[in-house]
Structures are given as C-alpha cells and as structure tokens.
C-alpha cells in the first residue's frame, strides 16, 4: 500500500445486504471516464463526461453487450465530494451479486480496489473532515486495516493459501538465483538460464491462472458473515441449525486438511450469507483434551462477526452457562432460547440480567421464532451492528486484483525472455510478482531476498 496515491479507487459503500439500494463509489481523477465506459444512458442521454456536476443520470450498466443492472449514476466534482476528488456513485438495485459484478467491472476498467479506510483517509487529507475528528480517522484506518489483514488470511482457504505460498517460494528462489549470479558472476553462471526460466514461468502462469479461475468460481475465498454457534451439549444446536437453514443449507467442506475448513458450512437467510462454525458443546472441564476444545471455541468466538448462543430454556442455567456468558460480553450475540415448546425454566429476563444481548424464543421442533430471528439478523446487519461489511468483500477484490497483478508480472517476464532482454530485467518483474503474492497473504517483502540468496547460494570471497 502506498500513501499519497492519487490514482482512482473504488469500493462498495453500502453494507452487502440482499436488499435495498447498493452504492458503488469511485473516487479520483479517472472516475468519470471509468464510469463512462460501462454506463449506457438512454437514447437521448449525453455522455457522462459532458454532464454537469451534481446531476443524477438514469441508464444501464453493461459488461460488453450484457446488461448487468438498471442504475442511477451521481456525478460529483472536486472539491465538493466526500473525498474532495472527482467522485461517481453508481446506485444499483442492491443484491450482493450485482454489486460485485459492477465493482469488478469498474476495477477492470482502471480503478483500484480501495485500501482499508482509504476513502476516509483521502477525505481527511483533502481537508473534508474536520481536524477535531483526526483521532477518529486514525482509529478507523487502523481498525479497518487490522480487520482486512485478519480477514485476508482467514478468508483464504487453507489449501489455496498453501498453493500461493508455494508459488511465492518458487518465485523467490528464481530471483535469488538471478541476483546471486549478478552479484557474483564468477561463481554463478546464467548460461542457458533464460530457457529454463521460461519453462518455470509458464508453470507460474498456469498456476496463477488456476488460482484466478478458482477465485471467480468461489473456490478460493469465502465470503459471508462469520458466525459461531455456542452452547452446552444437547441444547439442540444441530436441529436448530437445520431449521434456520431450511433448504438452502449447503455443506462446503470439500477441502480436507484444515480442521477449520472441515467444520464450516454456509447458509443463506434473506440473502445474507452466514458461514457457520459449530463449536463442540462448551462445558467447563478439567479434562485436558476437552479443555483444548473449549479454548478453541473461545478463540473462534473472538474472531467471529456474530455469535449465536443457544440455551435450553427447559433447564436451569448452571456454571457452564456462566462460563460461556463470561466470554460473550464483548461480542455480537443473539441468544436463542430453544425448546420454547417445553415448560420453561429460563426466561429472557434471566438471560439479560447476565448478558445484555437480544434474546429470541425459538423452538426447533415446532419451527417457531424463526421469522423473528431472521428479522433481527437483518436489522442488525442493516444498522451495521454486525461488523461484517464492505471490508470483507473488498479484501477479496484486493486479493483477486493482486493475483491478477502477479499474473501480469509473469507475462512481462515471459515477454522479456522472448525479446532476449538481459537477465536482470527478469528479476524486476519476478520481484513485482513476489510482492503481489505477498499482498494476498498479508506478507511484505522485507529481507526475504537477501536471506534467500545467502541461504541457497554459495557466494565468493
């Protein structure tokens, strides 16, 4: 990430819900020309660049010939916009899928996915946000970055992460080889190397291609609200889950190898995607093995966007519940009082005395309370109380973008080899690819190269 970049950035600036209006915001010098490429006004409509500022325009967003959505486009000129830069807002008919398609299109046409907190940062640096708010601005930037960093890693599927890491290591090896030879030409020769590298770069290209296709098909990244279900054993978590998910329940655990992947499933409620992690029933225990399970559950709760705490309303709260409640205090929690069809031993007041979070009575057996739950979920989401926001999806866009950058760099290496350029030019683009791959993993370059050179190659003197 670089500061002071004055290129054009884009992001989805409304929560990713399944309904309402979705806004894609583009800011920077090229925002109008980018929007113009994908926006098609009605028959008599003028081009966007010929329109006056502060006007709204009706038309279609098209990807080639295909109509994506019917939209309203708002034009704002610097300095009178949120960022004090030329800004275009595309208001579309919401829907996660549509918003993503439009953002992708905007990025393909020359915008860059905004860095975490970048709109706010630009607004501040351009004098649009009051000085007294500087502290809040700094907090937003740091928090969003931390969130993005966390989600960039947690959202990559384990096996994909492994692949990217392996690819990155191979790239580093080649750079180190070239650089060693440049630094110590009398010990390490590059005779015949370009031909060998060409074969390797073909492989790098193939692998990045596969990773990108995977990203398109959703096999690389998870998106959704990270939701953890907690509760003592036998409170009815699984049956409740079945009812909540209805027919849309989908098991997405095809990738073996990491426990985290294996435990997860994805469900949709009112257009919202929940990535559900079912923890083992939590119970205070002295047993070491089980204790690890409890600790793990606590960690999962800490990383979650939303926690569903299931309580059996037919049996009294005990110290196990107290233990669970103790680590839910700072989380986004919905308490589900299950088994409301049975005689009640616990009511919502008793819960709220201990944990001031919304409580809903449900019955998995009679399928009651489900609508209320869905209403609440949607409300929390729209109000932004659930912290899952544009940042998560944007992280994905950034990762995909970085993968595309890496691929472009590999293509450049290939062009350089084919054009007969000297070897030192290869390492420039290989390094760019290495950097891009690192961005996906949230890792910077640092001293990697020098360390690799010294550890793998025997230098002179």
């Amino acid at each position: 990430m670089e500061l002071y970049k004055n290129d054009t950035i884009a992001a989805i600036s409304t929560a990713m819900t399944g309904s309402g209006i979705g806004i894609i915001r583009i800011s920077g010098e090229k925002s109008v020309s980018i929007a113009e490429k994908i926006f098609h006004p009605g028959k008599k409509g003028k081009k966007l660049s010929e329109q006056a500022a502060y006007t709204a325009h009706y038309g279609m967003i098209k990807d080639g010939e295909e109509i994506i959505d019917e939209v309203l486009v708002l034009l704002m000129k610097k300095p009178h916009s949120y960022t004090a830069e030329d800004t275009v807002e595309i208001h579309c008919h919401g829907g996660v899928y549509v918003m993503k398609r439009i953002l992708d299109l905007v990025i393909r046409n020359g915008a860059r996915p905004a860095d975490p907190g970048e709109f706010t940062k630009r607004a501040f640096l351009n004098g649009r946000i009051d000085l007294s708010q500087a502290e809040a601005v700094m907090d937003v930037i740091q928090a969003k970055n931390e969130y993005a960093l966390k989600s960039s890693v947690s959202q990559l599927k384990g096996s994909v992460m492994k692949k990217i890491r392996a690819l990155r290591e191979q790239v580093l090896y080649e750079i180190a080889y070239i650089e060693s030879a440049l630094d110590d030409p009398e010990h390490i020769s590059l005779e015949g190397y370009p031909q060998k590298l060409c074969v390797k770069v073909d492989n790098f290209l193939k692998e990045s291609e596969e990773l990108l296709t995977g990203a398109e098909e959703g096999r690389v990244l998870r998106e959704g609200i990270r939701t953890v279900i907690v509760g003592k054993p036998n409170v009815g978590k699984s049956s409740l889950l079945n009812v909540l998910a209805g027919d849309e329940r989908a098991i997405v655990t095809e990738i073996a190898g990491t426990t985290r992947d294996a435990l997860e499933e994805q469900i949709r409620i009112r257009g919202l995607t929940l990535n559900l992690v079912d923890t083992a029933g939590i119970r205070e225990t002295e047993d070491v093995v089980e204790r690890i399970g409890v600790d793990r559950a606590k960690n999962m709760v800490n990383e979650a966007d939303l926690v569903l705490y299931v309580v059996d309303s037919s049996s009294v709260l005990d110290e196990n519940d107290e233990e669970i409640i103790s680590f839910l205090k700072d989380q986004n929690v919905i308490v589900l009082l299950n088994k409301s069809d049975l005689p009640s031993a616990v009511n919502s007041e008793m819960i709220q005395e201990r944990l001031s979070k919304p409580v809903i009575s449900v019955s998995a057996r009679e399928e009651t309370g489900i609508e209320e739950f869905a209403d609440l979920l949607e409300k929390m989401f729209l109000e932004g109380r659930v912290s899952f926001n544009d940042e998560v999806y944007l992280t994905n866009v950034r990762q995909k973008n970085a993968m595309e950058e890496a691929k472009r760099s590999f293509e450049r290496v290939k062009e350089s080899i084919e054009a007969g350029m000297p070897e030192d030019f290869f390492s420039i683009d290989l390094m760019a690819a290495y950097d891009s791959l690192g961005q996906i993993l949230g890792e910077s370059v640092g001293e990697d190269l020098v360390n690799e050179i010294f550890s793998k190659f025997c230098m002179g003197k």
Binding site: L3, F124, L125, I141, N145, L182, M421, V450
Partner: protein, 631 residues
C-alpha cells in the same frame, strides 16, 4: 598535568578508506582538519582483497567520484588489471572491478592527503571523545593531548578492540598485526553508544614463486579498460595488465577441513563476533554447502613489485597446520609457501540505527561516523560513507544544510538507508539486489545523478559541472533527433535490419523505435542515418540505454515519484509517538528507537505497518494544520 592542546575544525579518527574520504572532503571545503591514525604507513591500507569495485561496489566507487571523492582517481592510477563485470547482462548491472597494486594504492592516497591544504596527518591513538552539553567538542589522545574540534568523524574500521584469530592462536591486534585501538570503546559506551561486535576474515597470502600456474586457468583483464573516475582520460588507463589465476578446491581439501572442524575457533565458540554470510570462510562453505564438491579459488597478485598472491575464496580461521594442508591440496598450490596465514578478525562497531541518514549521531551533535565502524564491510562501502560523513560534518561546521542521498539517487543512499533504518546483524555488504531502482542507478550515469550535488556542496569544480551540463544537453539533443528522424521501409533499411538479425519494417518508424529492438545497436544504424553527428562514446552509450530501456526506465521513474512523496514528508524530531493512540504498540516502540526523519524512512522500519504509516500521515497533517491555525 600539562598537556598539548590544539584547535581544529574537524577531527577524523582513522585514515582508512572512510577516513581518507572524510578528511579530504572537510579539508577541501576549507576546514582545518586533523586525521588520526595508529600508523601513518597504513593510510588507505587494503588489508584483505587486492581489488576495488565489483558488482554494485563498482557503482559506489563511481558515485564517490561523481560527488568529488578520491577513491576512483587513485585506483585509476594504481590498478594492475581491470574488468567490467556482467557485460553480457543489462547496463544496470555492469560493474567495474580493478585489481590494485596495494602498496601503490596506499602510497598514492597518502600522497593526496599530504598535498591537501588544511589537512594534517597525526600518528596517534584517539582514546576519548569529548563532549559539551550534547555536542562533540574534541578528542583526547592516548598521550593526553587534546584536539578541540567542532566536529568529529569516527572511522575506526576494524581496529576497535580488534583481535585476530586462527586455531587457538589469538592476538589483540588490528589487521596485518597493526596496533589495535583499545581505549575508545569505553569512551563511546560512556556516551551511551550501543556497541556491536562483528567478525570478518581474510585468506592466506602465498609466495607466487612457489605456485604452479600450469595447473590453473589464466584470467585476463579487459582489452579496452574503462576508468573509474569520470575525470580520468580513458587513454591513460590502457596499460600492460597482470593476470589472475583460477583453480578449485576438491574433495581432499574438504576432507581436511571436515576432519579439523573441531579445531576451528568458529565452531568451538572462541569467536563471538557475528560474521558475514556473503563472505563465508572456506570451512563455512564446506559445511553449509556440503553438496558442492568443489569451490572456486582465485589467485590474485597483491602488487606489481611483490611476489605475494592473495588466495581468493579460501579465507579461514583454522589452525596453521590445517591451513597448510588445506592449501596444499589445491591444484597448483601443492608446494606453495605461505607468507601470511589466513585469520579471522573480531572488532567493535556500532549499531548504526543510532545515526541519522546524514551519518550524524542522533544523541550527540557534531559526531559523525563512517565505514566498518558503522557495521558495513568493504573498502568501497567505507569510502562512500566516509565521504558523506565528511561532507555533512563540514556542512555542520559551516552552518549549511546537511545532505542526504536517498535510495532513488544512488547506491550510497541505499547503503546508508539500509544501515540506519534496518536491523543489521552482520557486516553489511552492498549488493545490486538491495537497490529497488537499479535501472536508474547505473554506474554509467553516476555523474548525471550526483555531480550536481557534489557541485552544490563545493567538491566539484565549476569547469567539471559545466562539462556535465553540456554532456546532458548533447544526450538530450541526440535522443530528440533520433525520435524525430523517420525512416521508411526502403530496401536499404530492410536489408540492414535483416543483416542484423531483425525483422523488416512494416511502416515508417523513427530511428529511436528501431533502436529499441534488443538486437540493434546505435552503431548498426549508421548507414541509414547519414546526418548523425560525431559523438563521444559516453554520450552514445547514454542515448542508447535511455532509448532501449525506455519502458522499464519510465516504470521505475514512476515508482520513484511515489517514493519521493513519502521521503519528502518530514517527521519533526520532537514528535511524541506515545501521543498517537491509534499506532500499534510495536510500531511506537520501533519508531521511538529509530527516530526516522521522514515518513519514507519510517515505512521501511520492520514492524511498522502501512496502516501505521497512514495513521502517522493523518497525525502529521493534523498537527501541521493546527500549527498553521494557531499562528
């Protein structure tokens, strides 16, 4: 007790490659300068390899020269073989390396010092740095004499509490058995300066008469030698050159080493200093790269008037008897007589993160340092830092702005920025991979990059500066001419292209466009470019590189633009990082320690994230605007 008291402007401690450049810079800028050395006979000594330059180090020498330093000029007068390395690769990694006549080099540099006004050489050991209220005020010698000075430059090289070791023999001496400086470390520590202990090593020297060269491959210099200095007449360096020789270690050598590893002070733990990974001893190479069944050995002359030969590639700290056996196992060295044993040397140096990029100590005004004392290695790295420390000490005394060479301006900038910003746990060597903008930082354009700075400082003459401006004007003129001169798909053009192994034209293009093809060179185009002016080789070279690599160069220039914005964002010295709540704790700690001068420098500190930099940026912006409003 009465003692000698003298007054100078600048005191330079040490007369190695850093000390020479530092003291020359100060004296040439008109300041009364005293340079202290433990032995006048060891001024500009080359205690290890007998060459100057090499990959990326050659760049440093060129840059020192472009700024008005001395190293390039002296090696041009005293080299005995010269080679441009990497000529088959891109222009950015071409690098000059010259074998030096060590004694001649040392003598020639001493002569320059002796003939420089305002410069006095003093043979003495400096034992104490004197300060007054956080500002350096002079040095005290071991004899008790005091030299009052407005600035002091520490260039102690490998002499501080030096210890030479091989096998179980260890001597508290500097390189080549010279007297170590044993007192200064305590004075530095009492000033709050953090001291590291580093280690390096050198191979044996062998009597050339006892070497069987018939078992080795001869290595010649270039037939057309290119000088280091931009001021040297190229004709003056076309001399008779001497040869170097190449041979190899073998399994027997490695067996001898492996069988005696337990007697190596490195492995027994006698040596505590941290050694460089890029310059491993032969025992290190054998252990770490056990799959290699041979290692190269370069036999290089130490001078024209000595039979001593340097055994490049076989530095060691093994016991004497093992060294003999090991060297004798190498083809051509079977009967070699060893003149000087190989040894490892340990010495005190500093954690260079205590320095600003100007090479001034953050906590002591007027105290500067350069060279191996700063944790680097190599003659060229030392000279480069010595020059910058010298210039800035002079600027400080003269009340002028100090200079910082940044990473986009030169390898010198990369070297110093790495030293003062990054954590460094071994002697630092320049490497071309450390430079992110190396297409712009070529050895061939060091004058264009840095001579204007040398001129502004006062180390470059008006005449030399005007000549550079004229050179740049002619380069631009010729580039413009080639860009505007169109050629069509005539028979003559097509034939010429085909003859050069290139594809024929489809439409008319400019000559510059044709020159972009890797297989076409400027001279090839002469027949279809009848109106071309007569130009010297150095100008043609610049024109050709600028045009041929235009795409890559433009890309790097764009990156530099971004880089400059961050470098230009200064961080006030009094910034209280604890006040900035959104910074992560780790970042606060690192920033407090490093005290970066700019956001750019801050962004290169490990442990400071891009988000921290954004936060810092917002904070600085707010602070600045607030100040503005308050005023």
């Amino acid at each position: 007790m009465p003692f000698l008291e003298e007054y100078v402007d600048v005191a330079v401690v040490g007369a190695g490659h850093a000390g020479c450049e530092a003291s020359l810079a100060c004296a040439r800028l008109g300041l009364e300068t005293a340079v202290f050395t433990v032995s006048v006979d060891s001024i500009a000594l080359m205690p290890c390899n007998p060459n100057i330059g090499g990959s990326s180090k050659g760049h440093l020498v060129r840059e020192v020269d472009a700024l008005g330093g001395e190293m390039g000029k002296v090696i041009d007068r005293t080299f005995i073989q010269s080679k441009m390395l990497n000529v088959s690769k891109g222009p950015a990694v071409h690098s000059l390396r010259a074998q030096a006549d060590k004694a001649e080099y040392s003598r020639a540099m001493r002569q320059v010092l002796e003939n420089t006004d305002h410069l006095q050489i003093v043979q003495a050991e400096v034992s104490e740095i004197l300060t007054e209220e956080g500002h350096v005020s002079g040095v005290r010698l071991y004899s008790g004499a005091v030299y009052h000075a407005k600035a002091v430059i520490l260039c102690t090289g490998t002499y501080l509490r030096a210890r030479c070791i091989y096998g179980d023999v260890s001597n508290y001496t500097g390189p080549n058995g010279l007297q170590a400086a044993n007192h200064l470390t305590d004075s530095l520590k009492s000033l709050g300066i953090e001291i590291y202990r580093f280690k390096t090593g050198t191979p044996a020297r062998i009597d050339g008469r006892t070497i069987d060269y018939s078992k080795m491959e001869e290595q010649f210099g270039d037939s057309r030698v290119i000088p280091f200095s931009f001021t040297t007449d190229p004709e003056s360096v076309q001399i008779d050159q001497v040869s170097c020789w190449l041979t190899y270690t073998n399994e027997k050598t490695h067996e001898i080493i492996r069988a005696n590893l337990d007697r190596s002070p490195l492995y027994s733990g006698v040596i505590e200093g941290t050694g460089p990974r890029y310059c491993p001893s032969i025992e290190d190479k054998v252990v770490r790269f056990s799959d290699k069944n041979r290692h190269q050995v370069f036999i290089e002359p130490e001078g024209r008037y000595t039979t001593e030969m340097y055994v490049g590639g076989m530095s060691s700290s093994l016991p004497e008897d093992v060294q003999h056996a090991m060297y004798h196992s190498v083809p051509g060295l079977e009967h070699a007589k060893i003149v000087r044993n190989a040894y490892a040397i340990e010495y005190d140096c500093i954690n260079p993160q205590q320095l600003y990029p100007t090479l001034e100590f953050k906590n002591i005004k007027g105290l500067f340092s350069g060279g191996q004392f700063n944790g680097s290695s190599g003659y060229e790295e030392a000279a480069a830092q010595g020059l910058i420390a010298g210039i800035n000490a002079a600027m400080e005394v003269l009340g002028r702005d100090q200079i910082v060479i940044d990473r986009s301006q030169g390898y010198i900038g990369v070297l110093i920025d790495d030293l003062v910003t990054k954590e460094n746990h071994e002697p630092y060597r320049m490497m071309t991979s450390r430079s992110e903008y190396r297409l712009l930082l070529r050895q061939d354009n060091a004058d264009q990059r840095l001579t204007p700075i040398g001129y502004q400082v006062g180390l470059i003459s008006e005449e030399r500066y005007q000549a550079l401006k004229e050179k740049i004007r002619r380069i631009d003129e010729e580039k413009n001419r080639l860009e505007s001169r169109m050629v069509g798909a005539s028979r003559e053009v097509q034939e010429l292209l085909t003859a050069c192994g290139s594809t024929p034209l489809k439409t008319a293009v400019s000559l510059a466009e044709i020159l972009k093809r890797p297989e076409i060179h400027y001279k090839d185009l002469a027949p279809i470019d009848p109106s071309r002016p007569e130009l010297p080789q150095d100008i043609i070279e610049q024109v050709e590189i600028d045009i041929k690599y235009d795409g890559y160069i433009k890309r790097q220039m764009k990156q530099v633009e971004q880089f400059k914005k961050l470098e230009g964002r200064r961080i006030p010295e009094d910034l209280d990082y604890d006040q900035i709540k959104s910074l992560r704790i780790e970042a606060v700690q690192k920033l407090k320690l490093c005290k970066p001068i700019s956001l750019g420098q801050a962004s290169r500190i490990s442990g400071v994230s891009p988000a921290d930099i954004s936060v810092l940026l917002v904070y600085l912006e707010q602070r600045q605007t607030k100040k503005h409003v308050d005023e």
